[in-house]
């Protein structure tokens, strides 16, 4: 499958930017998009979490197909879990665990999300805005 075919199959309004193609999706459509990416042999690249000003989170998943970046973004309301794609892309395991370490985002659809960079007894969320004053 080509990057254009993947975009077409996932649907929606893709935006072409200097760094690749971007698509906003509701959280419940992320897993279907990931399945299409895998069917098209797109390589999982990264997951990026960014906190918003009202407690919401912007999450993006990035794939690569022959140099074309395909990015899918979603916004999570405060306290809402994010969909896990670990059962589709095993390579997303560390990305999800790190997102939990940094922002205390929980992932729905996986048995557990152990710490990755933090110690097991550390509280998640070291990069939350509420932690800004931490030395």
């Amino acid at each position: 499958m080509s990057a254009a075919e993947i975009r077409e199959q996932i649907g929606g309004s893709w935006e072409e930017r200097g760094d690749g193609w971007w698509l906003p999706l509701p959280p419940e459509q992320i897993r279907a998009a990931a399945r299409t990416m895998l069917a098209g042999e797109a390589r999982f690249v990264a997951q990026v979490a960014s906190p918003g000003s009202q407690g919401e989170f912007s999450l993006s998943w990035h794939w690569d197909l022959k140099g074309t970046l395909l990015s899918v973004t979603t916004t999570l309301a405060a306290g809402r879990p994010a969909p896990s794609i670990v059962d589709i892309y095993v390579g997303a395991d560390w990305a999800e665990r790190e997102t939990r370490d940094y922002y205390a985002v929980t992932f729905e659809g996986r048995d557990a999300t152990p710490t990755l960079m933090l110690r097991a007894e550390d509280a998640p969320g070291m990069m939350l805005p509420s932690e800004a004053g931490r030395p």
Partner: protein, 358 residues
């Protein structure tokens, strides 16, 4: 009998700490669990609390081997947000330093691999070659590790003695093509130790998101320099070596061939070095926006996401290093292998725990 062997966080062969727990049935490995984070420095957290100029220096501390690619990719993301055009000469200088860094990284790894295989003489030969590359980097930047070459919109220093750099590169090219490649591809001891060990399929490479030489040794034909050209790579001729076998030997051969390709790239770049300025002026701020920058580092694709609110401090910096993508693949590579092969399989990944932990 089944049992679990904890190895690490401190290792005999690797300087950096991490832990691997191996589930074994007799001498056969049936599963593995990894624990990282021993080098965690919170670099993303720190970058979001420093002004851009300081953050460029910080990013160069992500890795002690491929330090340049981190400051370069960070600058490229900022340049994209700000619409900053990098002058042609600066692009070529960046290519030379990036490829010298690849030579340094690959030779360092090849030396360690030779030692892991038990080939001490080769280890010493390779490290002697690596010194030529370190000297070339020092002649350009004044530094052997953190080169401080990058700034937003260009580079801080010129290549004042291109002929000396070419001479060093030609020396590496000659030695690698005459000694290293024939040895890695035809020596029976190397083949017996590495062929069929630590197999990792193309489908696994896609699912795990493997990058760089690890992915290319499993038949995944990916290289950001060719697939999504940046800097001057569009104007340069080079091949992307791949192998279908997905074993330790394939990873060794791919890296050895990449050394020659980097030499070719440096040779062409120095020959065509255009005249002109080294940077686009003093830039300390970029407008609000976000961008992803990706480049092909020595260990594979480096991914940076940067978001700016227009102030001098980035609001979000995400760094995905190649080792972060590659290290989890070891759990698939060691499954079904002999316990004695585990150090070699890990070594063949060229793992960097400093990069991974950031």
């Amino acid at each position: 009998m089944s049992y679990r062997i904890p190895i690490g966080p401190y290792h005999l062969a690797l300087e950096e700490p991490y832990k691997i727990e191996l589930d074994c049935q007799g001498e056969r490995v049936t599963g593995a669990t990894l624990k990282v984070g021993f080098n965690f420095r919170g670099i993303e957290w720190l970058a979001e609390r420093k002004n851009i100029t300081k953050a460029i220096a910080l990013m160069e501390r992500v890795c002690g081997i491929c330090s340049n690619v981190h400051s370069m990719t960070f600058c490229m993301a900022l340049e994209q947000i700000g619409g900053v055009e990098v002058p042609p000469r600066a692009q070529y200088v960046r290519v030379v330093v990036a490829e010298l860094e690849r030579l340094h990284s690959h030779l360092l790894w090849a030396g360690i691999a030779a030692e892991l295989i038990g080939f001490q003489t080769l280890f010493m030969q390779i490290f002697r070659l690596r010194e030529c590359v370190m000297d070339a980097l020092e002649s350009i930047s004044g530094n052997r590790v953190n080169y401080s070459m990058n700034r937003i919109g260009g580079v801080n220093r010129d290549i004042e003695h291109p002929e000396a750099v070419r001479k060093a590169v030609n020396q590496v090219q000659d030695a690698v093509s005459r000694t290293l490649i024939p040895l890695f591809t035809t020596d029976q001891t190397v083949a017996a130790r590495c062929r069929g060990v630590g197999r990792f399929s193309l489908a696994e490479a896609i699912a795990y998101g493997a990058v760089g030489p690890v992915a290319r040794a499993s038949g995944l034909d990916t290289d950001m320099r060719r697939d999504h050209p940046y800097l001057a790579y569009n104007a340069l001729e080079f091949a992307v070596p791949t192998r279908p076998e997905g074993d330790v030997l394939a990873r060794i051969v791919v890296r050895a061939l990449e050394i020659l390709e980097s030499c070719r790239i440096i040779d062409q770049t120095l020959e065509r070095l255009p005249a002109g300025p080294l940077h686009a002026g003093d830039i300390y701020l970029v407008p609000p926006g976000e961008a992803v920058a990706r480049i092909e580092g020595p260990r594979g694709e480096v991914f940076y996401y940067v978001r700016s609110d227009g102030s001098d401090t980035p609001t979000r910096v995400k760094v995905r290093t190649p080792s972060f993508a590659n290290i989890p693949t070891v759990t698939a590579m060691v499954r079904g292998s002999d316990l004695a092969d585990v150090p070699l399989i890990q070594g063949a990944l060229d793992p960097c725990y400093s990069c991974t932990d950031r």
